[in-house]
C-alpha cells in the first residue's frame, strides 16, 4: 500500500492521538507539535495531479523538452466547501534537490525514494521511453507517493523547505535550498567509505541492517527481473491465442454445421488474447511497490553509513585523547614507554629543560581538556544519532512489513482475478465448441 492520500484514510498513518476537535483547530497550522510527531498529511491533502511537457533552455543553453508535474494542496477540512486547491509546477530535478536536502539535513531518517528517473526494469520494451505516457503516468504516481511519505513522516513533515516546496510558487525555492548550506554539510563519499572500512565498534544493529539492505536489494532486483520475464512470456501465450480467433473465423466460413460454433469460439479467443493487457497493467502497480522498497535500501544504507561515520569520528577523537593522555604521562614521569621521535631525539640530543617541559605540559593540559570536551560531544552526538536513527528504523520496518504484506495480498487478488477471467473465457469457448 502506498502512503494514504484520501481524507478518510487520513487517520491510518502516523499517530492517532489528536481528537477531531483539535484537528479542526489546526487547519492552517503546518508546524505542529514535535513530541507526538503528528503528520502533515492529516492537515493537508497533497496530490501530484498532472504532468505536462515544457520546452526551455538548459544549463548549456540548449533546447530541451522536460516534464513538469502539478502539485496540488488543499487543507483537509476545506474539502467539503469545494475550495480549489493551491497548485504549482515542479520538475523532477526539483524533487531530486528536495530529497538530497532532506538526506543531508536529517541523516538519521530513512528518507523515501523517488521513482525511477529512467525506466529500467521493464517487461515490455515499449515502456522504456521516458516520454512514454505510461511511464510518465507511473512516475507521476511515484512522485505523489514520495510526497505522501515525506508528509506523513513525523519529523520530515515539519521541515520548512519541504513545506515551501509544496505550497509556494513565488519564492525562489532553489535559492532557498542552496542557502541552507546543506551541500557543505554533506559527507564526502570518500570519507564515508574510509570510515566504513576503519570503524572498530559500530553498533551491531547497524551492521546487521547494512547486510539486510544488501540482501533485500539483491533479492528484489532479481525478483523484479524474473517477474518481468514471466510477464513477457505470459503476454506471448495470451496473444498467440488471438490467432485462433482469426483462423476459426476464416474456417467457419467454409463449414456448414460447425460454422456458428467456430465463429463464436473465435470471438472468445480474441477476448482471451486481449485480456492480458489489463492483467499485466495491474501487475505493474505491484512491481512499482516492490521497486519502491528496492530503492529504499539505498536510504537504509545511507543511515548505516552515517552511523559508521559518526562512530568513526568518535573513535578517532577518543583515540586522539588517549594519545594525548599518554603523552602527558610520559612527560610527567619522564619515561618513554613507546617508541617516539621525541624519545629518540631526547636520547640523542639530551633532555629538555624544565621550563620547556612545563610549557609543553600546559599545552597538553589544554589539549586534553579540549579533547575530553570533543569526546563528550561526539559521544552525545553518536548516542543521539543512534537513538533517533533507530526509532526511525523501527518505524520504517513496521511500514515496510505492513506495505509489503498488503502488496503480496493484492498480488494474490490479482492472480485470483486472472484465474476467474480465464475460467470464464474457456467455459464460454467450451459452450461454443459444444455447438460445433
Amino acid at each position: 500500500m502506498m502512503a494514504d492520500s484520501g481524507p478518510k484514510e487520513v487517520a491510518v498513518i502516523g499517530n492517532t492521538e489528536l481528537t477531531s476537535a483539535e484537528l479542526d483547530n489546526n487547519i492552517k497550522n503546518t508546524m505542529v507539535e514535535i513530541e507526538k510527531g503528528t503528520s502533515l498529511l492529516r492537515k493537508l491533502e497533497i496530490s501530484v495531479a498532472e504532468a505536462e511537457k515544457r520546452t526551455g533552455k538548459n544549463t548549456v543553453n540548449m533546447q530541451e523538452i522536460y516534464t513538469v508535474y502539478l502539485i496540488e494542496t488543499r487543507p483537509v477540512d476545506a474539502l467539503t466547501e469545494g475550495i480549489t486547491p493551491d497548485s504549482l509546477w515542479r520538475r523532477y530535478s526539483e524533487f531530486e534537490l528536495l530529497r538530497n536536502y532532506l538526506l543531508v539535513t536529517y541523516p538519521f531518517v530513512v528518507v523515501a525514494p523517488l521513482p525511477e528517473k529512467r525506466a529500467e526494469i521493464v517487461w515490455h520494451k515499449l515502456s522504456a521511453d521516458n516520454m512514454d505516457p505510461d511511464f510518465v503516468e507511473r512516475r507521476r504516481v511515484g512522485l505523489e507517493n514520495f510526497l505522501h511519505r515525506v508528509a506523513s513522516h513525523p519529523v520530515l513533515c515539519n521541515d520548512n523547505i519541504f513545506n515551501i516546496f509544496l505550497t509556494e510558487q513565488d519564492k525562489d525555492w532553489k535559492e532557498m535550498v542552496y542557502e541552507t548550506g546543506f551541500q557543505a554539510k554533506a559527507d564526502s563519499r570518500l570519507k564515508a567509505v574510509n570510515a566504513a572500512f576503519r570503524v572498530k565498534n559500530p553498533d551491531g544493529r547497524f551492521t546487521e541492517l547494512k547486510h539486510y539492505s544488501d540482501e533485500l536489494q539483491t533479492v528484489l532486483s532479481q525478483l523484479l527481473r524474473v517477474r518481468a520475464r514471466v510477464a513477457d512470456r505470459l503476454y506471448g501465450v495470451y496473444k498467440v491465442h488471438g490467432n485462433y480467433g482469426r483462423v476459426f473465423s476464416e474456417w467457419s466460413a467454409i463449414e456448414k454445421e460447425m460454422g456458428d460454433g467456430l465463429q463464436s469460439a473465435g470471438h472468445h479467443m480474441d477476448a482471451y488474447a486481449a485480456s492480458v493487457d489489463d492483467i499485466l497493467e495491474e501487475e505493474e502497480h505491484y512491481a512499482d511497490q516492490l521497486k519502491e522498497y528496492l530503492f529504499y535500501t539505498d536510504a537504509l544504507r545511507a543511515v548505516c553509513r552515517k552511523h559508521e561515520l559518526t562512530q568513526f569520528e568518535l573513535e578517532m577523537v577518543a583515540l586522539d585523547l588517549a594519545c594525548k593522555k599518554q603523552q602527558k604521562e610520559e612527560l610527567v614521569t619522564g619515561t618513554v614507554r613507546t617508541f617516539s621521535l621525541k624519545g629518540m631525539t631526547s636520547k640523542l640530543f639530551g633532555q629538555e629543560t624544565a621550563e620547556q617541559r612545563e610549557a609543553k605540559l600546559q599545552v597538553l593540559e589544554q589539549q586534553l581538556k579540549e579533547g575530553e570536551e570533543a569526546v563528550k560531544e561526539k559521544n552525545t552526538e553518536s548516542d543521539e544519532f543512534v537513538k533517533t536513527a533507530w526509532v526511525d528504523i523501527e518505524r520504517f520496518k513496521d511500514q515496510k512489513d505492513r506495505d509489503l504484506k498488503e502488496a503480496l495480498i493484492s498480488y494474490a487478488v490479482m492472480q485470483i482475478s486472472m484465474c476467474k477471467k480465464g475460467i470464464q473465457v474457456w467455459t464460454n469457448a467450451k459452450e461454443c465448441f459444444n455447438k460445433m
Partner: protein
C-alpha cells in the same frame, strides 16, 4: 454405422459381398453379384475372394448407405497397438509394435490374434488399401521420420506418438465398412511375420504395376475435362480446409512453445520469493506462502501443456495429413474419369475413321499387295468394327469404374466429414475443459493462500479502492 454383427457367410461363398455389409443388401439379386464378379478378372489370379476388386455400382449403392451414428456397441473388432520393441539385425535396427486383435468376425479363423508389425508393414497395408479402393479415404499414417534425422526414430516420445497414431490408423480402418473387409487388412492382423512376407510377394508383378503408373501419369497430364460440379466443390473445400487446419496446427504448436517458455521462467520465480523470505522475519511466512502458490501453479501449467501436446496437437496434425490424403483421392478420381474420357475420344476418332471413305493410301497399299480394292475396304471395315466393339466394351467397364469411384468417394466423403467434425470438436472441447480445470486449480491455490492471511475488512476495502 450399424452393421449386423454375426451374419456368417461360409468361406465357399467368398465371391459375394462380405458378410457385414450384407445387412444392407436388402433387395440385391445374388446372381447379379456373381455375374459382376465373373466379368471382372482384371487383377484376379484365381483367388475367389479378392476384396481388392471393385464391385458393381449396383451393389455399392447399398453399401454407401452409411448411417449417421456409429456406435461402438456394434463394433465386432477391437485392435490395440502397443509394446514397442527394438530389433537389431546385421543390416538395420527397427522398432516393431505388437498388434492385438480381438474379433467375432467370421472371416477370421480365430477370435484373437497377436502379431508384431513394423512401420513398413503399415505402409504396405495403406498402399494396398489405396490401390484397391482408390477413391476411398484411408486415414493417414504418421510420417516416416522426423525432419531432424535418424536419431529421432528411437526417441521415446517419438515412438509413443507414433504408436498412438498407428493405433488410430488401424482402428479407423476397422471402423470403415468397406476397408475393414479387405483381405489385406485381415492378413495384416493375423499372419505371422513369415506368412506376411510371403503374402506381400503376391499380387500384380512389377511390370504391370509400372504400366498402371504410366497410364496414371498420362491421364493426370491430360487432365479431366468434365468434372462434375460436386467434386469441384469438394476440391475447393479441401483446399481451404487444408490451409485452415495447417494454420491451426502451427498456432497450436506455437502456443505449446510459448507455454513451455512461460513455465521455465515461472520455475525461477517461485524460488526467488523463498530466497527473500530468508532475509525477513514478519514477512517470511507470507513470502513462503506465495512461493508455494507459484510452485503449485507451475505443476498445473506443466500438466496443461502436456494435455495440449497429447490431445490437440496430434489430432490437428492428423487432419493436416488427412487434407493431403483427400487431395490425392480427388486426383485419383479425376484420373479415372480422365481415362474414361480418353477412351471415349479414341472411340469417336475410330468411328470417324471407319465412316470415312477409304483413304487412298489404304487403297494403294491394298493394290500393292495384290488385293481386290473391294475386299481391302471390306477387311478394313471389319477390322475397325472389331476395334470399335472392343473399345465399347472397355468404355463400358471404365464407365462403371467411374460411377463406382464417384459413389465410393461420395459415400466416404460424408463419412469423413462426420469423423472430422467429431474428432475436432472433441479435441477442442477437451482442450477447453482442461483449461477451465487449470484455472480452477490455480484459483483454489491462491484463494487458500488469501484465506490463510486472515486480512482485516478495512484493508480489503483499501485494496478495492486502489486503482
Amino acid at each position: 454405422m450399424s452393421r449386423t454383427i454375426d451374419a456368417v457367410v461360409s468361406p465357399t461363398q467368398t465371391n459375394t459381398i462380405p458378410a457385414d455389409i450384407s445387412g444392407q443388401m436388402l433387395d440385391l439379386d445374388e446372381d447379379d453379384d456373381l455375374e459382376v464378379f465373373s466379368k471382372d478378372l482384371t487383377l484376379a489370379d484365381g483367388n475367389m475372394f479378392n476384396a481388392s476388386m471393385p464391385t458393381s455400382p449396383g451393389s455399392m449403392v447399398n453399401q454407401c448407405k452409411f448411417e449417421e451414428d456409429e456406435e461402438s456397441d456394434s463394433k465386432d473388432i477391437f485392435i490395440t497397438v502397443d509394446n514397442p520393441e527394438s530389433h537389431v539385425t546385421a543390416i538395420e535396427t527397427f522398432i516393431t509394435y505388437r498388434v492385438l486383435t480381438k474379433t467375432t468376425r467370421s472371416e477370421f479363423d480365430n477370435s484373437e490374434y497377436e502379431v508384431r508389425r513394423r512401420y513398413q508393414d503399415f505402409l504396405w497395408l495403406k498402399g494396398k488399401l489405396e490401390d484397391a479402393h482408390s477413391t476411398l479415404i484411408v486415414h493417414p499414417l504418421p510420417e516416416k521420420f522426423v525432419v531432424k534425422g535418424m536419431v529421432e526414430r528411437f526417441n521415446g516420445d517419438f515412438i509413443e506418438t507414433r504408436r498412438k497414431a498407428l493405433h488410430k490408423f488401424l482402428n479407423r480402418i476397422a471402423d470403415h465398412p468397406i476397408l475393414s473387409c479387405s483381405e489385406d487388412f485381415k492378413v495384416f492382423l493375423s499372419a505371422q511375420a513369415w506368412e506376411l512376407t510371403t503374402y506381400k510377394k503376391q499380387g500384380p508383378g512389377f511390370l504391370s504395376r509400372m504400366g498402371e503408373t504410366v497410364r496414371a501419369v498420362a491421364n493426370s497430364v491430360r487432365g479431366v475435362k468434365n468434372r462434375p460440379e460436386e467434386f469441384t466443390a469438394i476440391q475447393e473445400y479441401v483446399e481451404d480446409f487444408s490451409n485452415k487446419i495447417g494454420s491451426l496446427d502451427k498456432v497450436t504448436q506455437r502456443i505449446v512453445k510459448e507455454q513451455k517458455e512461460y513455465l521455465e521462467e515461472l520455475k525461477e520465480y517461485g524460488p526467488t520469493y523463498t530466497l527473500w523470505s530468508g532475509s525477513e522475519e514478519e514477512l517470511a511466512e507470507q513470502l513462503k506462502g506465495v512461493a508455494g502458490c507459484i510452485e503449485r501453479c507451475c505443476k498445473e501449467t506443466e500438466e496443461q501443456v502436456g494435455h495440449l501436446s497429447d490431445t490437440l496437437v496430434p489430432v490437428l496434425h492428423e487432419y493436416v495429413l488427412c487434407a493431403e490424403t483427400l487431395k490425392a483421392v480427388l486426383r485419383r478420381r479425376d484420373n479415372i474419369q480422365a481415362e474414361f474420357e480418353a477412351k471415349n475420344e479414341a472411340l469417336a476418332t475410330k468411328k470417324v475413321d471407319r465412316d470415312a471413305e477409304s483413304s487412298d493410301l489404304g487403297f494403294v497399299w491394298g493394290s500393292l499387295l495384290g488385293k481386290n480394292p473391294e475386299e481391302a475396304r471390306h477387311q478394313r471395315q471389319e477390322r475397325l468394327d472389331g476395334e470399335i466393339e472392343e473399345l465399347k466394351e472397355e468404355i463400358d467397364k471404365l464407365e462403371d469404374r467411374v460411377e463406382w469411384a464417384n459413389n465410393a468417394l461420395k459415400g466416404d466423403w460424408g463419412r469423413w466429414q462426420r469423423s472430422m467434425r467429431g474428432d475436432l470438436k472433441s479435441a477442442f472441447l477437451s482442450t477447453a475443459e482442461k483449461n477451465v480445470d487449470y484455472y480452477e486449480k490455480c484459483l483454489a491455490v491462491w484463494e487458500t493462500f488469501l484465506l490463510s492471511q486472515r486480512t482485516e475488512p478495512s484493508e480489503e476495502t483499501d485494496r478495492d479502492n486502489t486503482p
